[in-house]
Symmetry: C2
Subunit: 214 residues, 2 copies
């Protein structure tokens, strides 16, 4: 691939939009739209066409002046940039209500994410099978994560144990954590943590109910 090694310098917001572009392109592809302009894509997402072109420009030149982009081609390019063109092996840590729901979340599997292991410390949960994944004792977590070549860990444990588990994940080579615990994790810089904080989303939404701020 001839794109420049921008290494750093790609805004986080651009990456989020890249995933949105990929999804929109997939749907347009299904609808038989072989061709798409930055304007059409932008309209669909409620953003500015220049934004679309600028975002893509971080990674190369994918369009044809005067024509636009070939839908399927751009879709493939984006998947390859995001790394979702191949299967990505994921482990769940914490098989409570939320964790178990994530194990069978179809939005993950359709995007190429595959849970290959799940862990908990609760004897009542260990041994249960959800979506073909057996919940295992967290005692052997490091070993199994290494053996099964997991690259992303999904953390859905109580706040108190989140940091401790994160430390163990880092030690066995995990560099990407999707964290559902309401805790900021302290990890080495090479490890990327994405936070999904459900209560935070709810609280900030609640703010907008106050008519004084409208």
């Amino acid at each position: 691939m001839a794109e420049k090694n921008k290494t750093k310098g790609v805004p986080k917001a651009t990456i989020k939009r890249l995933a949105l572009y990929a999804r929109a392109l997939y749907r347009m592809e299904m609808d038989g739209e072989t061709r798409v302009s930055s304007m059409a894509l932008a309209e669909r997402l409620g953003i500015n066409p220049a934004q679309v072109r600028k975002d893509l420009a971080y990674f190369g030149q994918f369009g044809v002046p005067g024509y636009g982009y070939r839908t399927s081609e751009l879709h493939q390019k984006l998947k390859s940039i995001l790394g979702t063109n191949r299967e990505i092996r994921v482990a769940l840590v914490g098989a409570g209500n939320l964790g178990r729901a994530l194990l069978s979340y179809v939005g993950f599997s359709t995007q190429g994410f595959r849970f290959v292991a799940a862990f908990d410390t609760d004897q009542n949960k260990i041994g249960r099978v959800i979506n073909n994944i057996e919940i295992l004792s967290a005692a052997r977590m490091e070993e199994i994560i290494r053996e099964s070549r997991v690259v992303i860990a999904v953390l859905a444990v109580p706040a108190q144990t989140a940091q401790e588990i994160a430390n163990r994940l880092v030690k066995c080579g995990i560099t990407a954590i999707l964290n559902f615990s309401p805790m900021r994790l302290l990890v080495p810089p090479k490890v990327k943590v994405h936070y999904v904080d459900l209560a935070l989303e709810m609280e900030s939404l609640s703010f907008y109910l106050n008519p004084a701020y409208f």
Copy 2:
């Protein structure tokens, strides 16, 4: 309350941080820290102290120069700004795996959010009781939402039905939607939608696994 009616003009990022401040203050309060400076709070959250002061300044003057903030007092103020000082009535629409997990998510209840109704169209789910909430037929949704004075709807339905359900919610007066479906919802401007897009989070995380962009 003497704070100015800033109506608009409060950045969305500020609101998110407000909820983070409230949480940190709660924990500090529990730890017996009666006093806190913008610097201490900022350090805990990994941000800039001026940011903290600026965020708070949108809503009034809560501190004491040369001293800082009274932990408990600031915590209460923030809760009242966010609206989480009182119970907030929530309805779930879509009682699949994810929806049911949300019904019993303790992070919501500890913050004062209370599910008062849950709806689905699947006969196998209707009648089940989760966390004391009975799953009801979506047919009578509008009526029940109005009667039980629901103010926030949590949407956890498949992508195809999300817009249709959103339309029905808007019609019965809902102005805040927490949307877990991977769909942009078209709603009138007075309705606030927060998106929690699990696949999107996973995809953008996956990007950072590519060593070429590090």
